[in-house]
């Protein structure tokens, strides 16, 4: 049975309030989800007053400022800081996005930052994506072909065939889309979710791959694929501007017409 409310140990409490010490007149209140595994306490929302006069333009800059100047225990994942690695995916102002490409001046009023939704929290803004990675592995995201064993030559692809992968190969697996999907929230253990299905489509759609039929067969499942009800939260949240809903729609169409 689907549980719409949060379990008892996940109910969010009011946390600490960190008042600004710089005396700046340009302050932004930033509410951040905190949970410390070393205590047995429930998660809480800490509020930080951040001096925006001395802060970079991105949400990630705010997090760094808090970590460097206010509370060094704040935990979040980040690496490249320009939207390529997908580490700093989190829920900013109600929508999943990469905090390193999201400009905070777009957001009026207080800034709310949560981890990616409906994940087990490891610490603060870090969610556990183990299930998603296992599902990714299950679609066998690598080229399957017999040609390679016969020849040492490269496997060629026409420009038209290559263009068919545009909009799919750019995916950085940040998991913004999957964790934005209500179907994935309720059936995340069985439903593959938009990120993994987009990857599945990327390989189904690759002209060099010789395992298309098997791939389609594997994914054609009431729970794995057809839990997608075109809610479109995935496409709405994708920080790379890709369209997982369309990829899933294309797989469904392929199955219906093959």
């Amino acid at each position: 049975m689907v549980q719409f409310s949060l379990p008892q140990n996940s109910k969010i409490l009011k946390g600490k309030y960190y008042k600004d010490k710089s005396g700046s007149n340009n302050l932004k209140k930033v509410n951040v989800y905190r949970w410390d595994p070393s205590t047995k306490e429930n998660p809480r929302i800490d509020t930080f007053e951040v001096n925006m006069n001395e802060c970079g333009p991105k949400v990630l800059d705010i997090l760094f400022k808090i970590k460097n100047e206010i509370d060094p225990s704040l935990t979040f994942r980040r690496s490249c800081a320009h939207g390529v690695c997908g580490s700093c995916a989190m829920n900013v102002d109600g929508v999943n996005t990469l905090s390193c490409t999201k400009s905070h001046s777009d957001i009026k009023g207080d800034l709310n930052i949560y981890p990616l939704p409906h994940l087990k929290v490891v610490k603060d803004l870090v969610g556990d994506l183990t299930t998603l990675y296992k599902q990714y592995e299950s679609v066998e995201p690598w080229l399957k072909t017999n040609v390679g064993q016969k020849t040492t030559e490269e496997i060629k692809q026409s420009q038209e065939d290559r263009a068919k992968l545009d909009g799919y190969y750019e995916c950085i697996l940040c998991a913004c889309c999957s964790t934005a999907c209500p179907s994935y929230w309720w059936n995340g253990d069985k439903y593959l979710g938009p990120a993994v299905l987009l990857q599945a489509y990327r390989w189904i759609n690759d002209s060099r791959d010789e395992d298309k039929k098997e791939r389609l067969k594997k994914v054609a499942d009431e729970l794995k694929l057809y839990r997608c009800h075109t809610i479109m939260n995935c496409t709405n949240s994708c920080p790379k501007g890709l369209n997982p809903a369309k990829a899933i729609g294309s797989i469904k169409k392929m199955l219906a017409t093959s």
């Binding site: 949060l6 379990p7 829920n91 075109t230 479109m232």
Partner: protein
């Protein structure tokens, strides 16, 4: 990794709505209501076929405020379901996935269903 006791991050509680997600859940709720309504309409037809006194009973109900509300609501819920289903059929054929298009068709569905409901009501009352 072992994390049975770790909290679950908030989901429905914090995620912001947009046109497509709102329409999706409405589509579902309206679908359930319509199914129940169809059963009700069938019962109504059965009752009519059983005799005149039954017809009067229904007539009184439908002319009450609640009855009228019921009819107007159903004209909306059926219009909505049909219009949104057209979106779904287009998606099944591979069209209309672009963010802007799906948003536009969503807004058309909302206003279209309201206009249809009013039209059906006016048509039913012989005003047009």
């Amino acid at each position: 990794m072992e994390n049975k006791n770790n909290p679950l991050s908030p989901h429905l509680q914090i995620y912001s709505w947009n046109v497509s997600s709102l329409l999706s859940i409405t589509h579902r709720i309206v679908g359930v209501i319509n199914t129940v309504a169809i059963i009700f309409i069938c019962l109504w037809l059965v009752l009519i076929s059983l005799g005149e006194s039954n017809y009067e009973f229904i007539q009184i109900f439908l002319q009450s405020f609640f009855g009228k509300f019921f009819i107007v609501f159903l004209s909306w819920s059926f219009s909505f379901h049909i219009l949104n289903e057209i979106r779904h059929l287009a998606w099944d054929m591979g069209y209309g996935f672009d963010l802007k298009i799906s948003q536009t068709t969503g807004i058309i569905t909302i206003f279209g269903s309201l206009i249809f409901a009013v039209l059906i009501y006016l048509f039913g009352r012989n005003i047009i």
